[in-house]
Assembly symmetry: C2
Homo-oligomer: 367 residues x 2
């Protein structure tokens, strides 16, 4: 029996072979450059896929929230880093979790450092997150006063251990000069390392973004790479040049519920609650919420004539279909949709179906 | 103890009083016009909130998927209508559910009607969905041939019972002339009723969109109103003129994790996985992913100086803050965010916290 026979409703498919190839390629690259790969698990959010990663020598992961860190606890990770500016309302949750799991958190201001210094009951590492131009979060690269103050506060605590500097150059997602951004980021981290390694000889620097880590070949003296999305990739990464469409390892299987030959549209059950609402813009200015692939017993193939989701609402998806697709599709068929943003799609769906018909876990499906 | 003391992480709050007032107002309006209110439960997706609705004489609901219909089954609903073009891969699920629950489905083409006629093992009602200009789904209003063919197929089945015509004029969301759209929609349904009531004297017509049902006072001979979003409302509905900000009955409580006085920004834990990524555009062209309200022990108040989410990523939210908010906020505080699209936010969060500290269920939280 094919996995396709199990599907009656929108279902997120995962191709294990492509996923493992993505993991292996990034693990090899990190090794080649002498860097430690600590993937951001906000994308996969899965224990099972974590076991696949461990087979490629990956021994630490990053979580996007304490909730995800709790979910990943007890899975053999040497360390789970929570890469979100620490939320001091969660200190007691952190203390509980740190009883059984080696953890680190991220600090971006002195008041959070002080609250942790006062209230930590367990040993926890921390990175200082640096902003070198992205502008979302982090201590500005030139604000040594805040960095020094955080380090000074940490020294007053027996439980708060400085690990190093973390930088997420998320502006590589916005189409500007990726290699320039990466150079600036590396230099920022190099500067910090030079300045602080005398006092903290063990300190490491970590840089984490898929567009950079996938494409760049120069990492300078950065110690650790922390990309996330590369595990699955998606259409946004294809557009950014991080990967080929063939590297995208998840796709949403959607049932066809209506076809309009006149409008060249196919209505599917697959909308914002399945894919999330991330969107790309086609060359002609129209919107693209995902692209059609053709499902078969072995997975999916990318058709030579492009069809894409031109609009989605809560449950509905409307495909702008090629003539070739229209000629071959009927109500009740399944189509595959490559997602624009796989992290968000996986979070919406809360589980995966493998191509051999097994359910693969995701944190959101396990309440 | 205040409900606020229970909150350490992003939490969707519900104000029961406002929600009940929204339910009562729409129930009163339907009654005043002699129409039956059958709310679309894709917004609330809750059994508990369903019990509140039943107190206002609401006895039938609409679901957006068979999954939601399954969740709402056994809650005393006289009928659950699944208002999505029926997906024939789910016929056996439908047959199982129909053993214990009075159901109706939606049909938009003959092949689906034929599959149902062939395979239904239980009595199920159906509406024919009509497209009178929205262009997303439904039989085009002038396509009597398809309507006749569907009705002819249904007659061959002892289990497939025609209930009437359903119309969702979703183009009222796109800022054009709402009252003109409603007039055209009413006329379309009137025309169909006139044409088919001789053969089907019991047939009803239903129209369902919150912008129309909230504002219009003229419903002609439409029999049933099916809005959904009005139960909670949201900023999109405020913008459309369906309600005031004070009528929005859910808000996301988010912890403050960093403050930049220089940029006048507040970083909160609250991103796309909590709010979804629906967005409004401010007058100056900037984006608005939600607006700040101030939480207190009794719920929230709308501040006189506006602050809003200018950007969100998976877990991060960046608030463009008023001077008044900046002067009063500190790291570790909670702020409230009125959502742009409450249906999507509720679906992301999977449960609600009431202002007296009780968890209220949502279908997505109950796997």
């Amino acid at each position: 029996m094919s996995y396709l026979d199990q599907i009656s409703s929108p279902t997120l498919l995962i191709d294990e072979k492509i996923t493992r190839a993505n993991l292996q390629r990034m693990a090899d690259k990190a090794k080649r450059h002498g860097k430690k790969l600590v993937p951001h698990w906000k994308t996969a959010q899965s224990r099972e896929i974590g076991r696949w990663a461990q087979e490629y020598g990956i021994s630490e992961v990053t979580a996007s929230s304490i909730k995800l860190a709790e979910y990943l606890c007890g899975q053999g990770w040497k360390n789970i880093h929570i890469a979100f500016p620490f939320n001091i309302r969660e200190i007691s949750r952190l203390n509980r979790l740190a009883e059984s799991q080696n953890l680190s958190v991220q600090i971006v201001n002195t008041s959070t450092a002080q609250a942790l210094a006062n209230q930590l009951a367990q040993a926890v590492g921390f990175f200082i997150e640096i902003d070198a131009g992205y502008g979302r979060t982090g201590v500005p690269i030139s604000d040594f006063e805040t960095i020094d103050e955080i380090l000074k506060i940490a020294k007053t605590s027996p439980n708060l251990h400085f690990k190093g500097f973390y930088l997420h150059p998320g502006h590589t997602y916005y189409g500007v000069d990726k290699s320039k951004i990466h150079e600036e980021s590396r230099e920022a981290l190099h500067l910090l390392k030079s300045k602080y390694r005398q006092s903290y000889p063990e300190l490491v620097t970590r840089i984490g973004d898929t567009p950079g880590c996938a494409v760049m070949e120069e990492f300078g003296d950065v110690d650790e790479l922390g990309p996330g999305n590369f595990v699955f990739f998606d259409l946004m990464q294809v557009e950014l040049g991080s990967c080929a469409k063939e590297d995208v390892s998840v796709c949403l299987a959607v049932p066809v519920v209506d076809i309009s030959l006149e409008r060249k549209e196919i209505l599917v059950h697959g909308g914002g609650v399945h894919l999330a609402k991330d969107v790309l813009v086609n060359d002609d200015g129209s919107k693209n919420f995902g692209e059609v692939v053709l499902l078969n017993e072995n997975g999916w193939i990318i058709p030579s004539h492009r069809s894409f989701l031109k609009s989605i609402s809560q449950e509905h998806g409307v495909i702008k279909a090629s003539n070739e697709l229209l000629a071959n599709v009927k109500v009740g068929d399944l189509l595959g949709i490559l997602p624009v943003h796989s992290c968000m799609t996986a979070d919406c769906m809360g589980e995966y179906l493998s191509l051999d018909g097994k359910i693969i876990d995701h944190a959101e499906g396990c309440h």
